[in-house]
Amino acid sequence: MPVIDVHNVSKIYNPETIPVYAVNNVHLHLERGEFTALVGPSGSGKTTLLNIIGGLDAPTEGQVVINGTDITRLTPNQLIQFRLHNIGFVFQSFNLIPVLTARENVEFIMLLQGAPKAERERRVNELMAAVGLSDKMDVRPAQLSGGQQQRVAVARALASKPQFILADEPTANLDSHSATNLLDMMAQLNRDEGMTFIFSTHDARVIERARRVITLVDGSIASDTASVDVAAGHK
């Protein structure tokens, strides 16, 4: 059973004047454990599609079914709760809460979920160790490098025990070394814990690591390539 089922989704801006198709009749299935990249040139609709899958934006047409729940039918409050318990987000600009320490940023999601204190502490320690930042627990984001901030963002995304993680251009603001480290860590989480990652990116380093690459052009899927094909295409 696919974890995410996108049925004929379109996002049309100005539908009654000059319609602009940001996403045009997209149909795709994403399985548990995937490490998938949505790629395409700027304006191709990859971020819009990612936002629709994450319930941050509503499609004009079509359905998004996640683990059997059609999220396009949820009320705004139900959608917030759904995101809180099912989806992890990693953003291009890290978007950590600057006034909280790394530990508090990770713990914050679990507080929103109402997790007990002991569980929060245990999981924060685990996650910060998993992203290799156990020694930066009590440091605020401004004192961390971009790569470290993005690692904290990944730990935060994992904290809610989501079904999958949506990462919008996660390496765009990172130097090469930090990007490689981050991708290594994500790949390991995918391999060892089966965490599903869906990236929106045009970073070749991400595309190289992805086991499935979905290319969008003008809001439509131009190609959907599995890992063997990807590897072959790069050789």
């Binding site: 917030i80 995101r83 978007n95 809460i97």
Partner: protein, 403 residues
């Protein structure tokens, strides 16, 4: 953690937050100071009204106050006995009061003639201490009169001068008596000084043909706390007579205190209304410059209720942090001024006397007004937080994150 975030957010821009906190502190201080000034004036007015004018309690025939007719009187000996045997009374004065006309070669003036027993009157309202020229009823001399400074100035009266008092006696006959001015007095209430003249009660009763009778008993207590018990006791012991407290005798004085409560709310509300715009502006800036962060919070699962709560909490903290500073400042200034007083003689002394107020104001901030200010500050912060919080709720996470 919402509290933690809200608190730390305050200090993202310390200068900006401190400016608002300082504004709130100054607003609270200004409000507290103005209220304490008003209450100081109000307290002084009540003190003057009780100590120099109406005393805590007055007893009359039920019809006497309608037109001050001496026919509505009581027996002085019986009244004296009742009051002497009532516990808790500090002093009392039994008077015979009648309206009449004061005349001399300069002209005439309508007056209220108060027939008093000098020692008792002095014990009840300290009349002797207000004599500024001449003497307070010389012993052994008959038909002496004390006149107020304002009346004396108006009619060119001086100690030793003669005046004629004309009034109706108990049989409604027009009666006149020649009196020599013993002294000129001046209290804090110039209009009353112009109206009231004082003569010995026995002299006055002889002219009124009401020997042994009186029309008013004024009772001074140790304090306001004794008033309810004394009022109840005298009402029980003086059936058929009207026993009233100072609020009933002088409703305009009671109104001063009542109006102070309303004025307090209006003053604080005006000050904080002005502050509210500063608070709204600051919080709006705080929300708009954190658009991406708020978008992220909504994206990861923060409910609108929590987001609203976070902005409200931040506004409340920003506002309430200034309160202790403002109140401490108010307390310090009030403690100092309540000892030294604010002497307004130089620029408003006569005006104050014209309305029966003392020329030295001792600020007083009642405890309930501190709570009133706190409540109004709290409500202001709540109201001021609504617009910035609403702006935060209107953000769409997908757009906000990319800004």
């Amino acid at each position: 953690m919402l509290f933690l975030i809200a608190w730390r957010n305050l200090w993202r821009h310390p200068a900006r937050s401190l400016a608002i906190i300082a504004s709130v502190a100054l607003g609270v201080w200004a409000g507290a100071f103005i209220i304490s000034l008003y209450y100081g004036m109000g307290n002084e007015r009540v003190r003057i009204a009780i100590e120099q004018e109406v005393s805590h309690l007055q007893v009359h025939h039920p019809k006497f106050r309608e037109d001050h007719d001496v026919a509505f009187n009581f027996d002085l000996d019986s009244m004296d006995a009742v009051l002497r045997n009532t516990p808790g009374l500090k002093a009392f004065s039994l008077r015979t009061i009648c309206h009449g006309m004061l005349a001399n070669v300069t002209g005439s003036n309508g007056v209220q003639i108060n027939g008093v027993e000098p020692e008792a009157e002095n014990a009840t309202r300290g009349l002797k201490s207000f004599v500024i020229n001449g003497a307070y009823f010389e012993a052994g001399k008959k038909n002496q009169v004390l006149v107020g400074k304002k009346l004396a100035d108006k009619m060119k009266l001086a100690p030793g001068g003669k005046i004629v008092l004309t009034f109706q006696d108990i049989e409604q006959n027009i009666t006149s008596g020649a009196f020599r001015i013993a002294g000129i007095y001046e209290t804090a209430n110039a209009p009353l000084d112009e109206l009231n003249v004082y003569v010995r009660r026995d002299d006055f009763n002889n002219l009124l043909n009401t020997p042994g009778r009186g029309t008013e008993a004024a009772v001074l207590l140790s304090g306001e706390a004794e008033l309810p018990a004394a009022l109840a006791a005298l009402r029980q012991r003086l059936p058929g007579l009207e026993v009233e407290d100072w609020r009933a005798v002088s409703p305009e004085t009671a109104l001063v205190m009542t109006s102070l409560d309303i004025t307090s709310v209006i003053i604080i509300a005006i000050i904080l209304l002005a502050l509210a715009f500063g608070i709204i502006n600051t919080m709006l800036m705080a929300v708009l410059e954190r658009t991406r962060e708020i978008g992220m919070l909504m994206a990861v699962g923060m409910t609108k209720t929590r987001l609203f709560g976070m902005v409200v909490l931040e506004t409340l903290l920003l506002t309430l942090v200034g309160c202790p500073v403002g109140f401490t400042l108010a307390w310090a200034v009030n403690t100092w001024l309540s000892k030294t007083g604010i002497d307004v003689t130089a620029f408003a002394g006569n005006v104050m006397k014209g309305f029966g107020y003392g020329a030295v104001i001792y600020p007083d901030l009642p405890d309930d007004k501190v709570w009133l200010i706190l409540r109004i500050v709290f409500v202001t912060a709540l109201v001021a937080s609504v617009f910035p919080a609403w702006k935060a709720l209107k953000l769409r996470p997908a757009e906000a994150i990319r800004r």
